[in-house]
């Protein structure tokens, strides 16, 4: 049997399952873009008005961070500036979720087993998923071209815009394909892919915010970080500006490399397994496993290691940027203001503010990790082994505490490693912030991440059937209010809702114990309340 046998059947199956989801996503994106284009045409009929608006935007690194760099003063260029970043993210998320849905999630739910029995080659599932998602991206691109053209914008730029979005989506399909091979659960694979989208967005945001403004005050040339981000490439093609179509080869190359990698990884594992080798396992449990904590650690071990590796890589990247921040843009007041806003400090040293802002991001990533770990409580409870475990002598509070310990312990390890990696990379490029200071700065984020964890435990105890959506919603709100609250200009009372608002912005300011102790108390209270609620409720299987 060929390795690809049955691919066609699987493609049809996937299309059937996605017959509502993908068309809605694509059509919705096209409608948003059409509306966005119409709004620009309506608001800015003349070139002078557009130039003024873009000059204002170009001086604000915060705007550049969120939207990307302006490419010109044409109508199309302004539509691009206002919408491209968002469309790229939509394409990326559509692709990652769809790939995970048709690969790892199928395996996890056992659907793939049924399919596997019906004479399907071992490469068929991934091939089918990629076929569907690449096709979806083509349709996505065409729909966007249609939306721009129907708004009366020039076709040439529309095509570049559409192609940029389509190939970016494809690159993220490749990233998700690798994630689906590495991680055992759809939950982890989705978290991995979504984090990849977030990090890519942030990296290109930094590159754009640090970009160099041209004399006309409109165009901005991105700094190098934009070039290492798959989301940056779509923008660097500059639809409706001085177009550079060749950049769009980069996402295609990434797709090819990822697909090759995913097949290589997939060839080494069994259906349903992650990359950890299968074959006969131990016939008896080691002492390590035989406790609620040992079990929780075992269940989270593989994904925790993945997150730790990612944190180190991200930390090294951030650390090596200190140099760029300082050298290139020490004099740019807008940038220092943005960094101050992100870090939640007034004006400190630029590098310190930058690192403080990045520590907030590490704190956010650690909180994501904690949410992912704690949501396992729910998947174990709903149709999982929790019923049998809680019928043994393990009390409910102890069971929750074991998972909470994995979440908080893992988050702590991530923050220490990220801080250390940042410090080491900074030292390597001649910075002087200091490894210990940055480790401390990383750890200062732990109480905030733990507060998010406490919130998840509370919701798990009180509203178990809604915990997945409420947990992620809570995380998004605390990130939006905490990390970006100042950039968005939210009132202080709203920003105070987020635990991240209260973290001292080390190394830009000195550590203060007050807010940290406060957060620890709040986190403990939330978690304790969640455990009490859980002990009082029915097991919701």
């Amino acid at each position: 049997m060929s390795a690809y046998a049955g691919t066609g059947r699987l493609v049809r199956l996937a299309l059937r399952r996605d017959r509502v989801q993908l068309p809605v996503w694509i059509a919705g994106s096209a409608v948003i873009l059409a509306a966005g284009a119409a709004a620009v045409i309506d608001e800015f009929p003349d070139a002078a008005g557009r130039a003024t608006a873009l000059q204002g935007a170009g001086t604000s690194p915060a705007v550049l961070l969120m939207r990307g760099t302006p490419v010109g003063t044409d109508l199309g260029a302004l539509v691009n500036f206002r919408n491209l970043a968002f469309m790229l993210v939509l394409a990326a998320l559509m692709s990652t979720f769809a790939v995970v849905r048709h690969t790892r999630q199928n395996e996890e739910t056992g659907r793939a087993e049924m399919i596997g029995a019906a004479s399907v080659g071992r490469r068929a599932a991934l091939t089918a998923a990629l076929t569907v998602v690449i096709g979806a991206n083509l349709v996505f691109g065409v729909a966007l071209i249609g939306a721009l053209a129907s708004a009366g914008l020039p076709a040439g730029g529309a095509v570049t815009f559409g192609v940029a979005c389509a190939v970016t989506g494809m690159a993220f399909a490749g990233i998700a394909a690798v994630g689906a091979q590495l991680f055992q659960s759809a939950r982890s694979a989705n978290a991995f892919a979504a984090t990849a989208v977030g990090v890519a967005y942030l990296v290109r945001g930094i590159g754009d915010a640090l970009g160099e403004r041209a004399a006309d005050g409109v165009q901005v040339t991105s700094a190098w970080p934009s070039w290492v981000s798959p989301l940056g490439w779509g923008m660097l093609a500059r639809p409706y500006g001085a177009e550079r179509l060749w950049v769009l080869v980069l996402p295609i190359l990434l797709l090819v490399a990822c697909v090759w990698g995913a097949f290589a990884l997939g060839g080494r594992r069994d259906l349903g397994a992650g990359l950890i080798p299968e074959r006969p396992g131990p016939a008896a449990a080691s002492r390590m496993l035989l406790s609620p904590l040992g079990l929780a650690w075992r269940l989270n071990r593989a994904s925790t290691i993945g997150w730790l590796v990612g944190s180190v890589a991200f930390g090294l990247g951030v650390g090596s940027l200190g140099d760029v921040v300082n050298d290139a843009l020490g004099g740019n007041e807008g940038v220092s203001k943005l960094m101050g806003q992100l870090a939640g400090t007034g004006s400190a040293g630029l590098v310190e503010a930058f690192f403080a802002a990045m520590m907030n991001v590490f704190g956010a990533v650690a909180a994501c990790f904690a949410v992912q770990v704690l949501l396992r409580l729910r998947s174990e409870e709903a149709g999982g082994p929790a019923e049998a475990v809680l019928a043994t002598a393990v009390g409910r509070a102890r069971w929750v505490a074991a998972h909470l310990a994995c979440a908080v312990g893992g988050a702590a390890a991530m923050l220490v490693l990220a801080g250390a990696a940042t410090g080491l990379a900074d030292a390597a490029v001649g910075g002087e912030v200091g490894v210990l200071t940055l480790v401390g700065a990383g750890l200062a984020q732990l109480p905030a991440a733990t507060t998010v964890a406490g919130f998840v435990v509370l919701v798990f105890g009180g509203l178990p059937r809604m915990v997945v959506s409420l947990a992620w919603a809570g995380l998004v709100v605390s990130l939006a209010c905490g990390l970006l609250g100042d950039v968005f200009g939210l009132p202080q009372a709203v920003r105070d809702v987020s635990p991240f608002t209260h973290v001292p912005a080390i190394p830009a300011v000195d550590a203060t114990p007050g807010p940290i102790i406060g957060l620890v108390v709040v986190a403990a209270a939330l978690a304790a309340a969640g455990m009490v609620l859980f002990r009082r409720r029915d097991l919701a299987t």
């Binding site: 496993l289 393990v394 029915d538």
Partner: protein, 308 residues
């Protein structure tokens, strides 16, 4: 001797569904108690209440002398539960899962574990994700039976086992029962319940409709009789306690209430009976009377089958 389990007037609602509606259940220490009822009758719900996984709305439940909701972990050291749907961790091996459940319950008898692995033919080195439903049930059964506990709560434990493994299961239940343990066994397999259980409770729509020994339950219901005589049989339809009569000359088939049986036999004697077979109701028939919404028609169907 105290009862291992005693339940009185248990009520449990899920939103608008009334899963338990005043259920009573008594399981004496040392007995193997069959727990029967149609799908959705409330068996699993009852067992979950007894394990403190669900909290009853009202009524009283006692397990091993304690309150299952208050003394949960203390009681759980003394009992073992096999859920109806055994879900395991996909990347743990079967052996690891057995050890884990055993240890979390308070310890495993290693010799017994090895013996049971052998008896149930379970490969403990395989990942749980590769196990079939029956193999997952075996993991839970081995973990339960290798624990030294006083009470076994088993929710349809054999629904995925093949006949060979069913026999292994019955042997194991007899062993733990002989050693003095109490077993509460929910099941849809009548032969298993008839073979193992000294007492049976039948529930329906969240209430207990019958409870007692099999002999007691049989006494409450009818015996099927098929008789052939040299002379045409007459007058049976006039006798009290005779139901579903199919008479055809010297041949007759009918059901008779236990209390009316002596009178019927005296009446038959005058027709020169040649053969007479009488069969006590099977558990299945007992059960069908409480199952279908029209128990009479169910009884008709069985007696017509017997007469043919």
């Amino acid at each position: 001797m105290t009862d291992a389990i005693s339940v009185e007037g248990l009520v449990k609602t899920f939103g608008r569904t009334r899963a338990l509606n005043g259920l009573d259940l008594v399981v004496q220490t040392g007995e193997v108690h069959g727990f029967l009822g149609p799908n959705g009758a409330g068996k699993t719900t009852t067992l979950r209440v007894l394990l403190g996984l669900l909290r009853a709305d009202s009524g009283r439940a006692q397990v091993l002398g304690g309150d299952p909701w208050q003394d949960t972990t203390r009681l759980h050291r003394r009992l073992a539960y096999v859920p109806g749907d055994v879900n395991l961790w996909p990347n743990l091996t079967g052996g690891e899962a057995v050890d884990l459940f055993g240890d979390l319950r308070g310890g495993l008898d290693q010799a017994r574990r090895a013996e049971l692995l052998e008896r149930f033919r379970l490969d403990p080195t395989k990942r749980c994700r590769t196990y079939s439903k029956g193999n997952r049930q075996k993991v839970a059964l081995i973990a339960a039976f290798a624990s030294d506990v006083e009470l076994f709560v088993l929710d349809e434990p054999t629904s995925g086992l093949d006949p060979l493994m069913e026999a292994a299961f019955q042997q194991t239940v007899r062993e733990v029962s002989a050693a003095g343990a109490t077993v509460l066994l929910s099941s849809h397999i009548f032969s298993e319940v008839e073979a193992l259980c000294s007492k049976v409770s039948i529930i329906r729509d969240g209430v207990t409709v019958e409870s007692g020994t099999l002999a007691q339950l049989r006494h409450l219901t009818r015996t099927s009789v098929v008789v052939e005589a040299a002379q045409p049989i007459t007058g049976l339809d006039a006798l009290p306690g005779v139901h579903d009569l199919v008479a055809d000359g010297g041949r007759a088939g009918f059901d008779v209430d236990a209390a009316a049986l002596p009178g019927v036999l005296r009446h038959l004697a005058s027709f020169e009976v040649q053969t007479l077979t009488s069969r006590p109701p099977t558990l299945e028939e007992l059960f069908m009377r409480h199952y279908g919404d029209a128990p009479e028609s169910a009884a008709e169907a069985t007696s017509a089958g017997a007469a043919r």
